[in-house]
């Protein structure tokens, strides 16, 4: 379990944390780890997070495959800039029209990054949770990390995405409705014995938190009471990079990109200190000043 060094990260306050997910019946030839990114609410940045973590892990020398489980509303291919190279998709593999390797689109910018896109012309019912478990088990032997981008919601698509997961990352924004939905997701994960999951707070605006106009990291953790693995500051550059199909984690200068690279290192088990965004205002102002200078 990833813990931050500043002691802010705790398992749920009442000690109701669950052991990390374990699937004894799985065969493992290589230690390929399945990480599912989910949120409940839509539009909080699941796909952006998946793409950026994949890029950051691949840049760190790991072999990574992204799996878009949002069948019928695929986006990951666009965000990763691989849309025009799709020949086969996830449903083609599940239904036996394509081999796994044929559906893995290789990213040309990073040597060990692949995408298996979702089918756009089908819907969630085209794939079942056991299909996803089988597909991911086949991938485990091929790669180090399998990142699954979950659709919004708590229905079939969510269950498909979570079924194969060894670890679940829950993305939320510092706003009441997103946190409410994340709380629902944590409850469902606990019921499915997929652990409480790890939390990513996305699009935090330190200035707004300082004015008291936005939930702070502590406000969010207060409700959810699950381990925090990253806080990503609001960054206009994300929109630009998303539209360009070049995830921000590729850009050394991007603030959000740096936050995603930190999360990737924590996923690898490194102990990376959190940038104290909203807790230590003096520090943040200094940091902001530094960014203004360098930018």
């Amino acid at each position: 379990m990833i813990q931050s060094s500043n002691g802010r990260v705790t398992t749920s306050a009442n000690g109701a944390s669950q052991p990390a997910a374990h699937q004894p019946e799985r065969e493992r030839t290589m230690a390929g780890k399945v990480i599912t990114v989910t949120s409940g609410k839509g539009g909080v940045g699941k796909t952006t997070t998946t793409a950026n973590l994949a890029v950051a892990l691949a840049a760190g020398g790991h072999k990574v495959v992204c799996l878009d489980a949002d069948i019928g509303l695929r986006n990951l291919d666009v965000v990763m800039g691989l849309e025009n190279r799709i020949v086969y998709d996830l449903v083609d593999v599940v239904e036996g029209r394509a081999r796994l390797r044929q559906a893995m689109i290789k990213d040309k910018r990073l040597p060990e990054l692949y995408l298996i896109p979702a089918a756009q012309t089908r819907d969630k019912s085209a794939v079942s949770p056991s299909d996803m478990i089988k597909l991911c088990n086949d991938l485990r032997g091929e790669v180090d990390y399998i990142l699954v981008d979950s659709p919004a919601g708590i229905e079939r698509g969510f269950r498909n995405a979570v079924a194969p997961a060894d670890q679940v990352l829950i993305v939320t924004n510092p706003e009441v409705s997103a946190v409410r939905d994340a709380d629902r997701i944590v409850g469902l994960l606990e019921a499915e014995e997929k652990g409480p999951g790890h939390l990513i707070i996305n699009r935090l605006k330190p200035e707004m938190v300082k004015r008291g106009d936005m939930l702070s990291t502590d406000d969010v953790l207060d409700i959810l009471a699950i381990p925090l693995i990253g806080v990503v500051p609001e960054d206009e550059g994300i929109l630009v990079s998303t539209n360009r199909g070049a995830p921000a984690a590729m850009d050394e200068k991007s603030r959000a990109g740096q936050a995603f690279r930190d999360i990737a290192r924590r996923l690898r088990g490194e102990d990376v200190p959190f940038m104290p965004l909203d807790d230590n205002k003096g520090f943040w102002q200094k940091l902001a000043a530094r960014f203004t200078r360098s930018g």
Binding site: S12, A13, N14, A16, S128, P129, S130, I154, R156, R159, A163, V176, R180, D181, D183, R184, V186, G187, L188, E190, A191, E192, E193, I223, A225
Partner: protein, 239 residues
Amino acid sequence: MSDTITIKGIREGLLVSVTDAGEWSEAARALLTRIDQTVEFFRGGRLALDVGARPIPAAELGRLRDLLSERGVSLSTVLSDSPLTTHAAQALGLKVALVAAAPPSIQARVDAETDPEEAREDAVLVRRTVRSGRSVRHTGHVVVLGDVNPGAEIVAGGDILVWGRLRGVAHAGAPATALPGAAADGDEAATVCALDLAPTQLRIARHIATSPARKGTPQPEMARVKDGRIVAERWSPKK
């Protein structure tokens, strides 16, 4: 195999009983085999599953629900005498009682209602945070060791005690209209206590109140009905 599973039609769909004492994994496999043999009969159906006294963890139930849904069958209800199974089913959002005919466990509680004191003795302890979307319903008292988050609800025929923060909806002394099996008019004497009493909405019997805006540090409070209104009072060691 077929003698371990009985299937009958009920108002809400199909009631499948797998109540013998055998291994759950085998019973589940037998059930799926049975469904696979007559897919057309089951497809699109709603299933209520009576598993008897078997303790079944949530992950197992979730797996069965998924396997059923792959066969076009939706698992709506799980009936069980095992508290573990019942909690697992509730956690997955499944119903744990039939509307038409209450299962034996619930029926027993309704009968006990003839002696209200006895029914009020009955309490459940929830040893975890109750998160958004979850509902804990019980005709006796409910004790939560953890928080009740916004979007969650606790409905009790008796008192509600939250050793933590109460931020969802709490309904104590709920009448039978809100909680089948509870006393017809609810219980006006019921109380709601929490270390931090800040519910989205608080109901006692037929009274409804919302929390005033938070001021200062949270203190343990107890809410009760006084002169026809819900009032919350601080708990203090002297008294």
